[in-house]
Symmetry: C2
Subunit: 292 residues, 2 copies
């Protein structure tokens, strides 16, 4: 089976961690241990976030004026190398062979997101030290960048070629590096869940898995009467979404990305935590969403 698994930020950098190499490597080892059987029995692509790591690089850049600052697309590439290497190191302990690919994602430079940047990235500042900064919820000024819709994973063909040769592929880190069709980089951030869903469609994955910090999708999440959603379909998931059950910037983009994958020909998707992924693959845990 061909599976795309998106590892949430929490699976690779525990909350409250400073982000040392040791912490990141340990988290990657724990995550890979949980999915070792899955990796051995299937063709798997692992995608991952990069928020805290990019934030750290932005902070370092602003602290050392004698070194040229890199734009966001280049920082994305650097965090793909960093985090991909941690995951690859963890996979090496299983005896499997992996391949970490620097991954670019084509977006439309005319995407309306460029007129209205919405995605805050990096550290907080007391004042606007560069263009594009906005006050973030009274906590300080932050760089706010556009989050355009991903149109094409540029390296999807290389990813498929590696999967066919049984490599565990690590790709689309941080949602991928946003580029124009001619390869020119853009100062933007692509939503990791959207990019992962697109990749799953482009490489004809049988299954898309979002690993998140909760064990499954909940209805009435955070309210007095939460209930687990174990199995559902596109139509019912859409109904729940319309009713406002899924939080913006958290579960909603995952459910939306799952629906998009299923509407584009995907058969099944799972939303679960790293600890229950094995049970979820047996449909004994997590939230299973099917294309019927």
């Amino acid at each position: 089976m061909r599976i795309v698994i998106a590892l949430g930020g929490n699976a690779l950098l525990p909350k409250g961690a400073k982000g040392t190499a040791g912490e990141q490597l340990d988290a990657a080892k724990k995550a890979i241990t949980e999915i070792e059987d899955v990796l051995k029995k299937n063709q798997v692509v692992l995608t991952h976030g990069n928020g805290p790591q990019v934030g750290n690089l932005l902070l370092q850049q602003s602290g050392t004026k004698e070194v040229a600052e890199m734009p966001l697309d280049v920082l994305d590439a650097m965090t793909q190398g960093q985090i991909g290497y941690f995951i690859a190191s963890a996979i090496s302990l299983t005896g499997l062979h992996s391949a970490t690919l620097i991954t670019r994602v084509v977006v439309d430079p005319e995407d309306k997101a460029f007129e209205n940047p919405t995605k805050p990235v990096g550290p907080f500042y007391e004042k606007q030290i560069k263009p594009g900064m906005k006050m973030d919820a009274g906590r300080g000024y932050r760089l706010v960048v556009p989050s355009p819709t991903p149109l094409k994973i540029r390296e999807h063909d290389a990813i498929s070629a590696l999967l066919e040769r049984n490599f565990v592929v690590i790709a689309v880190g941080g949602g991928g590096i946003p580029i124009k069709n001619n390869g020119e980089g853009l100062e933007a951030v692509i939503d990791k869940d959207k990019a992962t869903s697109l990749l799953a469609t482009q490489i004809n994955a049988d299954l898309l898995v979002f690993v998140t910090s909760v064990d499954c999708v909940y209805l009435n999440f955070g309210k007095p009467n939460p209930s687990k959603l174990s199995k559902t379909s596109i139509s019912i998931a859409k109904k729940y979404m319309a009713e406002g059950h899924f939080a913006e910037g958290s579960m909603k983009p995952k459910v939306e990305s799952v629906i998009k994958f299923l509407e584009n020909g995907g058969k099944k998707a799972i939303i679960c935590s790293i600890n229950n992924i094995r049970l979820a693959l047996q449909e004994k845990a997590g939230t299973i969403i099917s294309n019927v």
Copy 2:
């Protein structure tokens, strides 16, 4: 033909440049323009250095105490992402498809190099701010790390798989990330020329090309009577090396790496500049070294 081309630091970051993203991208575009025909007609792996980029990251890290410092192996991974992305962007303009692979290289943790670190990396400091720093030629203290012999390019199989599918592969950046056989990273630097030669052997390359800042190998280089070495063989190259014609840390490691590739079954190697690589491939420029 299967060709491995090592791009020298000068080809990707001109002397005196600060290393901005624009400078690095422009240099990559110029280099790729020179080899576009070569890339279109052959299976090509491009390797590259990372000295100035790693130096800049070390400098940034020391300037921002609130962010966790990454060890050298992780910084290598980050620069592979950074530089690989610049090269991939340049390749996109040719219409070719590329794949940038984070590449690890197995070394022996008992390598004698670990007892005697010799490779200075990163910025100069007025005093020893951390263990492993040594005075460098009276200019200040610098981090000095071991340079162990590369034993195996861990990702050689993924590189071959991608070449067979006609991707231009960007790999072994900065000589690769030094790891133990179990995948654990090491605080060391691998010589880019040695690692490139090893890769060429492992993937059965027909040709190994070292792109450097001079147009070919010279005898009596830097002396009143320099002479171009246009064609030679292993045995004659060894004789010249024994006579001290090639500078330590500059041309000598390249010639040594060429000899190793040829002794391990390679047929032909070229040492040339980026501007004359096309002529060199027609044996009309550069230094051609054959296995006879």
